[in-house]
Each structure stands twice: as structure tokens, then as C-alpha cells.
């Protein structure tokens, strides 16, 4: 379950949507000097109170009884800690939440990304009016994409138009190596 890192990115974004976020910032950054990989998803959603935050940081958690929203969090925390990284959650009620996971890049158990280009494409095309910003920087490649900027460029042409999907798919594939 959730054996690829980009699945965690998707999961964190879904958590942000569940928290009614309108602006979501996603960062995937490699720091070669520090041998570190960092994932961060920040949102302006509902945020969490102290008790919920405590269980997100340390427990096995879902804010919704009988549902599994949020269950990806402890898995991500476990992977980060196992790979000599950190797991940090900051959250303020009414302001938003920021989840950061870091990993030692050379750690032998670091999960692969799976298909990060497809994951970013999924997120951009289904943003559905929300502002989603993606920052990616790894091994000399990098880009920033922002659904507000894309929508400005597209005018009344929707993000799910086949030509736009093709464009974004190729744009992302060009900038994200197939296998990390």
C-alpha cells in the first residue's frame, strides 16, 4: 500500500481538498549537497486543532470516523523516519496546514517516485478552479507551474481540453526523468 512516493503527494493533495483548501502549494525538491529529498504540501484549508495535530504527528489518524482520509499520513511519517528524514506538520485552525517530509536520497529503502509526471498532470487537470502551484527541482531539472497562470494563458479553453492535456503531459515528461 502506498509503496511509491508520488502516491503520498496525491494523498496529501486530497487531504488538502478535504480540508476545503483553495490554494495548494506542492514542492518536490532535491538537495544534492545535503543528500536530501523533500516533499511539501501546504494549503489554506480548515487547519487542525491541537488534539488532531498531535495525533497526526504521533498517532494513527483519521479525522473522519469510518473513513480512511488521513490514513496515508502515518505511512509517510514512517517512511521519512525510516529513511533518515524528518516529518513535520504545521497547522493552524482557519489558516491552513503544511506537511513536510524529507528523506536521505541515498537511503537504500527510499521508495521510487512511481510516475511523478502523471501525478502532477492528474493534480493540474483536476484542480477544478483551485489554485495549485507545483515547484519541482531535481538533478538540474526544474519548473514551476501554477493553475492560475495556466488558466490565464488558456482563457476559456479548459484544462481538460485534449490539446492542453497533451501539452502538459509532454511538458512534464520533458522535465521529469522517467526513473529517478
Amino acid at each position: 500500500m502506498m509503496e511509491e512516493l508520488d502516491m503520498h503527494v496525491l494523498d496529501l493533495v486530497q487531504n488538502a481538498y478535504s480540508a476545503q483548501a483553495n490554494t495548494i502549494e506542492i514542492a518536490v525538491l532535491c538537495n544534492d549537497a545535503a543528500d536530501e529529498l523533500m516533499l511539501r504540501v501546504s494549503d489554506d484549508g480548515a487547519g487542525m486543532d491541537e488534539r488532531t495535530l498531535e495525533s497526526v504527528r504521533h498517532g494513527f489518524f483519521s479525522s473522519k470516523p469510518k473513513q480512511t482520509v488521513g490514513l496515508g499520513i502515518p505511512l509517510l511519517r514512517e517512511v521519512a523516519q525510516h529513511c533518515d528524514g524528518r516529518f513535520e506538520v504545521e497547522s493552524t485552525l482557519g489558516i491552513g496546514t503544511s506537511v513536510t517530509a524529507t528523506f536521505r536520497r541515498s537511503h537504500i529503502d527510499l521508495p521510487p517516485f512511481g510516475d511523478l509526471a502523471a501525478t502532477f498532470l492528474n493534480i493540474l487537470v483536476t484542480a477544478d478552479g483551485r489554485c495549485v502551484r507545483i515547484t519541482y527541482r531535481c538533478d538540474g531539472d526544474g519548473f514551476e507551474l501554477d493553475t492560475e497562470d495556466l488558466s490565464d494563458r488558456l482563457g476559456d479553453v479548459p484544462m481538460h481540453h485534449p490539446e492542453v492535456v497533451r501539452f502538459l503531459r509532454d511538458y512534464l515528461r520533458e522535465r521529469i526523468p522517467e526513473k529517478r
Binding site: M7, L10, Q14, S18, T68, L71, L150, V157, P162
Partner: protein
């Protein structure tokens, strides 16, 4: 490949769009809660987008939602076609998505083998 290229797409596509009325004919919703993602929703979504891109389906909107409460059938996909009952597919894979796109979305015949629910 530069973002400036989007301008050309905009010019081409908005001409076609102005000939049609607004809303998408087909709406596809992929369940992207934790259990959906763990069961393969990423590849299901990616395959839908790939099919839209390669088959040039300009009247299909793909979107996502959180938990659907059908964890044992994940990944779950809902297909809404204007004027027809909503069809819910379960245990979807990339291959099944390709089949649903051709048989249901393009040709109008739901793929009954993968249907777990029909809502009128």
C-alpha cells in the same frame, strides 16, 4: 516545449469551442482517497487523461473525489453521460479504463463486467 506555446492552443481551441455549447458531455469521477490511491487510482486517472489526449476527446471532463466508502472495490470510477444513468465501475485498472473509454464513453455501451452500481 514552452508555456508560451499555450497561446497557440488557446487560439486554435477557442475557435472550436465557440461553435459548441459549454458543458462537457461526459463527466468521469475517479475516487482518489487514500485507499483508492493505494489500490491504483493514480494509474487509472493517468490512463483516462492519456486516452483523452490521444483520442482527442474534447467533451470529456475527468475529475476526482475523496473517499467513496467502497474501499473493497477501489479504484472506483463514476461515468456520468448526459441524459443517461450514472454508471459506477469498480476494481479499475489501466486496461479496464481503455475498454470503458472505447465501449462506454465513445460508443455508448457500458462495460457490464466491471459495473458495481447504476444510479438513475
Amino acid at each position: 516545449m514552452k508555456l508560451e506555446d499555450l497561446r497557440k492552443i488557446r487560439e486554435r481551441a477557442s475557435k472550436e469551442l465557440s461553435l459548441r455549447k459549454g458543458d462537457a458531455r461526459v463527466k468521469v469521477i475517479v475516487g482518489m482517497g487514500t485507499s483508492g490511491i493505494a489500490a491504483g487510482a493514480r494509474d487509472v486517472m493517468a490512463t483516462f487523461l492519456d486516452e483523452i489526449a490521444t483520442r482527442n476527446l474534447d467533451d470529456v471532463l475527468v475529475t476526482q473525489t475523496g473517499e467513496r466508502g467502497l474501499a473493497s472495490s477501489e479504484p472506483v470510477v463514476e461515468v456520468h453521460i448526459e441524459g443517461e444513468p450514472t454508471v459506477v465501475y469498480g476494481l479499475m485498472t489501466a486496461d479496464r479504463v481503455r475498454q470503458v473509454v472505447v465501449e462506454h464513453i465513445v460508443n455508448g455501451n457500458p462495460v457490464s463486467d466491471y459495473v458495481i452500481e447504476v444510479r438513475t
